[in-house]
Symmetry: C2
Amino acid sequence: MGNSQTEWFWSKYEEYRSYVNRYIENYLSNLDIPSELRNASSHLILSGGKRVRPVFVLSVSELLGGDIEHGLPVATAIEFLHNFTLIHDDIMDQDMFRRGVKTTHVLYGVSTAILAGDYLFSLVFGLVSRNYEGDEARFLTQLLAEASENICIGQAMDIKPEKYVENVDDYIEMVYLKTASLIEASTASGAVVAGRLDLVDRFKEMGRSIGIAFQVADDILGLVGDPSKTGKPVGNDIRNGKRTLPVLYVLDKMDKDEYDFFMSVFGNEAADEESVRRAINLVVKYGGIEYAREFMGEYSKKAMDVLKDFDDSDAKIFLLNLIEFIVSRDK
Amino acid sequence: MGNSQTEWFWSKYEEYRSYVNRYIENYLSNLDIPSELRNASSHLILSGGKRVRPVFVLSVSELLGGDIEHGLPVATAIEFLHNFTLIHDDIMDQDMFRRGVKTTHVLYGVSTAILAGDYLFSLVFGLVSRNYEGDEARFLTQLLAEASENICIGQAMDIKPEKYVENVDDYIEMVYLKTASLIEASTASGAVVAGRLDLVDRFKEMGRSIGIAFQVADDILGLVGDPSKTGKPVGNDIRNGKRTLPVLYVLDKMDKDEYDFFMSVFGNEAADEESVRRAINLVVKYGGIEYAREFMGEYSKKAMDVLKDFDDSDAKIFLLNLIEFIVSRDK
């Protein structure tokens, strides 16, 4: 992207984002509920976030001639669903910080945090059933119910990766369920609120491809990203033993000594920097990074291909830039 | 009820229950999900339960000429929603046993139990959106989303009763939200699946009244129930400091000495039996039990009144008996 196009892209992104933020803030502040529940449910969602899923809803809807206002309730529902999963994931992973602030369970206790997540989840379907009718309501409810089920199943796989994520295929399945299915629901919801039920399947495919490319980009950054940009130490994912795409690809390609060495570092939080660097080099040597980059490229191309059939428009250029940004980001 | 009518009632109850149980078992065993998630999500729901909410769905539907098979998906959705709340409540209350078996988080750990509840919750809306269409789907989604929101709000009040439950009105509000709103959704769903959208509001009112009467019956049993039947020690609710209807009614009626004595026993788990008995006597003396019985009678009458306008049928007699049973049970 040229400089002026970059500027244009980010100002359009910010425009979508502020529509969503205004709707969210207004919605949360009008809820007539105990203050404890309101504060705990609002804490994470009001402490930042890129709102990339709502942005997909609104920009796909705009591409297809939809009206922004009409997309806001489901865009918000999807952001609530996302934040519900984050609040519960943080309890499960015992994470203390997210988005630079303390996690909900650290601030409000585990019980209230469980409840805050449950409440956000219940608002998802309230938002949809109160703001849409007929086929629109049915499609949106189905998309969000499916995504919710998928996220839980993906999370169950992710809790025990040693049992459920043995190879590249398992991994893609897990990433689809846990991450891509909500982006799939976002882009497809954009088609629904634009009144284009005939395009739901194609925009599901687009979102699915974006979601998988998004996660693989993360995997690559976790291994060979620049720590000064990602904010994470070199080889963080190696020390944490994260079974990412590049790692799964090379595991059965190393010779025995290399494999034994790799496994002595992988998941070893006390591993020294030199060993971590050598482990990463093994992933590079056996083509793990290259494979992941190609894989990501294929999926981002698939996503962009869906856009080919549509006339040029601001929304189309925006979406192409957004997909490009997702796979080429350095943090 | 005469003996033969009692028998007839329970055999009809059991008939509804086994329809639901068969549907639930079949549904859960056909899910293609990680075994850990399936086991944790199924554990509580397959370990018993009265299925009173699904029974309300099916019997109201039958009263209005609906078909049992057609009501089963939403009856199951409501039972899933109920079990989701129980699994999460048990984590919040750190309860070890329910329905005579270990709770889900004790067996599978807190993380998997949170996830199991979330997953059941996500199935609720999947069941509705996949099995119903048009107005039916929209009404059912709205009823279940509203009930879910209410349950979370009620639970938030119940976590801090000292803050949110000061008087009888707060209490009824809390009971409505936490307990009655799901029974309201059950009876109203029965009207929806029978195709009687015009009767949804009246059957909501019926369910709401039943739910409140149901909880007040529990409150009375918790104070003056026969421990050999309820299975709970005398004055359990006094030792636990439970702000129930009879207690809230009398709190401002005692003189200062009585009040001070009552508060020294209320919520004091180490209180001796004699003190607990004296505390209960204070509730009786100031008309707490009498008030609660009248209150319950009014609400059960309200519920039964809804049935007056319908021609006599097996389903009508069954529902009248079921309401009667709920308020006159001794355990």
